[in-house]
């Protein structure tokens, strides 16, 4: 057992616990805080995977901006305890076991996939962290057009949010 494995399992446990908490919490604000926990744990995992830039973006944009937006809307709408409603019989006895079956199948496939086993032996992965300078060069050369397209996307999103959320005259 080395430090990386221990760190991985600690963060994985935190992330899964946060996701379960998101499902179990009745108050939306508790779910939001659980989701922040998941995002923080994932940021540490990105650091572990050697992607410090993505880890920083994860904390700043996801855990910072997006979750603040969520918490803001929850407070604005005064969202309280969610109501419980009955599920249909088909969903309860058919959907839930099938969902778990699908999850198990995906996990099993991933664990035994050629990619997973090949990399487990250390093939193809380098030890040093991903170079942020290299990443930015890629972003502004090879992916320049998508990058510029996202700025238009953000602009349209701002306009859409403004139009949707404003009060009717």
């Amino acid at each position: 057992m080395n430090v990386a494995i221990i760190m991985f399992f600690a963060c994985a446990l935190l992330a899964v616990a946060g996701a379960v908490l998101l499902i179990l919490a009745r108050e939306p604000i508790h779910s939001a805080l659980a989701l922040v926990l998941v995002m923080m744990a994932l940021a540490v995992l990105y650091l572990l995977l050697g992607a410090p830039f993505i880890a920083a973006v994860q904390i700043i944009v996801y855990a910072g901006a997006i979750m603040v937006l969520f918490v803001f809307v929850i407070m604005l709408l005064n969202a309280g305890v969610e109501e419980r409603t009955d599920f249909s019989k088909i969903a309860k006895f058919g959907g839930v076991p099938l969902g778990f079956l699908l999850l198990l199948e995906i996990a099993h496939w991933l664990y035994h996939s050629p990619v997973g086993t090949a990399i487990a032996n250390g093939a193809g992965s380098s030890n040093e962290a991903a170079d942020t300078a290299q990443l930015s060069e890629m972003l502004f050369r090879q992916y320049l057009f998508p990058f510029e397209a996202t700025s238009i996307l953000i602009l349209i999103a701002i306009l859409g949010a403004l139009v949707l959320a404003r009060k009717e005259q």
Binding site: A19, E82, A120, L164
Partner: protein, 103 residues
């Protein structure tokens, strides 16, 4: 040592988080929480992207994660505006009550 953790562990964690996101999406009744479960699924996919980028020693996966985060931000802005509009019109956040398109 950084590469001591096998990539398959990350992929399994990603699958578990995605599955929990799907469960939350199906089970939750509050529209804001349903939105949050979509974010959880996006996060799970991002983890898989970073793991694969690491596995192949290429940076394209990281660039893709960057774009996913940008799109998620735009989606959250528009989606939450729709939630605010719905809450003003219907006085409820329960998705069972938002059934205008239902037969």
């Amino acid at each position: 040592m950084m590469s001591a953790v096998p990539i398959s562990y990350y992929l399994v964690l990603s699958a578990i988080l995605f599955g929990l996101g799907v469960v939350a999406f199906v089970f939750k009744r509050n529209i804001i929480t349903i939105f949050m479960s979509i974010e959880l699924m996006l996060n799970a996919v991002n983890l898989a992207f970073v793991a694969f980028a690491r596995a192949h020693g290429q940076l394209d996966g990281l660039v893709f994660v960057f774009f996913v985060i940008v799109v998620a931000a735009a989606e959250a802005a528009v989606g939450l505006a729709i939630v605010i509009m719905l809450a003003q019109n219907r006085q409820s956040l329960n998705v069972e009550r938002i059934n205008l398109l239902k037969l």
